[in-house]
Symmetry: C2
Subunit: 191 residues, 2 copies
DNA sequence: CGCGTTTCTTGAACTAGTTCAAGAGGTGGC
DNA sequence: GCCACCTCTTGAACTAGTTCAAGAAACGCG
């Protein structure tokens, strides 16, 4: 069942029925329980993951053992550790399911071959990465231009449902502050 | 003279002589004076820029008129505003030459056509974007895991020459603090 | 349902980094 | 070679956000 991926691809490029079928041979569905890991610090990342439903996150641990969430990926997002994937180097990150999640796994190994057979996919991934680059620029701009409280307000108004869905401490570190501070912001906003 | 670009491309994919010549028709060299702009806030970004020599940066202005540097691009880096480029939307950013800079300009208009004729370039740009994604993850990790002073120390030890090259206030905002604070860090380190 | 773990709250003491302002240095352009 | 303008420094007062600790609530699993 990779219909959601095909639908996403169709937004960017068109594949023939034969090409879509080819893709099927390279993509493996996988279900994850809440809190299950796809990658741990020190392991080499070998695949790229497409979220069909649920939610993944990238995080790392500070020396003091505090988790910091770098990215969330919900429906229709790709997630991986590009540095580790590229260099076949041990990762500095963890990839984890925030809630029960259904992913499609595209292994790096076969990817070259697949792109050789279906060049439109090379284009699709370029466009996906380009969108990711835009999102990263936007993210850093927000981190720099708004106060912690303003960042939370904006995030909460853009993604009200998502704020309910993830534990507050994951969201706090994603927004760049402590869980205690987020709790205090909420208390302030409540009155 | 696009030899430096061809050399960079060769690190990722191989082009035939004919393909390299084709590329030449789509890439226009351009020289920039110190402080010259390639893009201003509100304008639509229509091209991607490859730095042959010199240095570009992306920055934005806060409501108070303070500049915040988001990215630097030195030799062999591509720079653009992907959000504006993609959506043909007004940019939130400025692209500026930090010092006298020589760039190659690849206009968005012809790009599709070029990639159709030279599919290896589609691949090249995917790989460049992938490297950019890795750098962005690393950047956010640094912002979250180190104190301001530690960020400066690390940056200065990694790129000692670069620290001399750019005005301190650009570097301060890139590292996520004020120029005054950077000045104080330096004073502390001096003794 | 009920127990154990995970998550959230609250308060007090603290500190990293900001803000504002004024002066001192540099340096590039003519 | 000089002036104007950029850029950097310094200090004092301040504040946004942290840290630590302890209790309260919520949740998910059996």
């Amino acid at each position: 069942m990779l219909a959601p991926l095909l639908a996403h691809i169709a937004r960017y490029v068109s594949l023939t029925a034969a090409e879509a079928e080819l893709l099927e041979a390279y993509v493996v569905p996988h279900t994850l329980e809440r809190r299950a890991h796809l990658l741990r610090e020190g392991e080499v990342c070998t695949a790229t993951y497409f979220v069909v439903s649920g939610c993944l996150r990238t995080y790392f641990l500070t020396e003091k053992g505090v988790e910091h969430t770098l990215q969330f990926a919900i429906e229709n997002w790709w997630l991986t550790d590009y540095a580790s994937l590229d260099a076949h180097a041990p990762s500095a990150f963890f990839l984890q399911a925030v809630e029960p999640t259904w992913v499609l796994v595209l292994e790096q190994r076969g990817q070259e071959e697949l792109f050789g057979r279906v060049p439109q996919l090379e284009r699709y991934f370029r466009l996906v990465l380009q969108r990711g680059a835009a999102a990263a620029q936007h993210r850093v701009k927000l981190l720099y231009s708004l106060s912690g409280e303003a960042r939370y307000r904006q995030f909460a108004s853009l993604f009200p449902a998502f704020v309910q869905r993830v534990p507050q401490y994951m969201l706090a570190s994603y927004l760049g502050f402590t869980p205690e501070f987020l709790s205090k912001i909420r208390a302030r906003m409540g009155e």
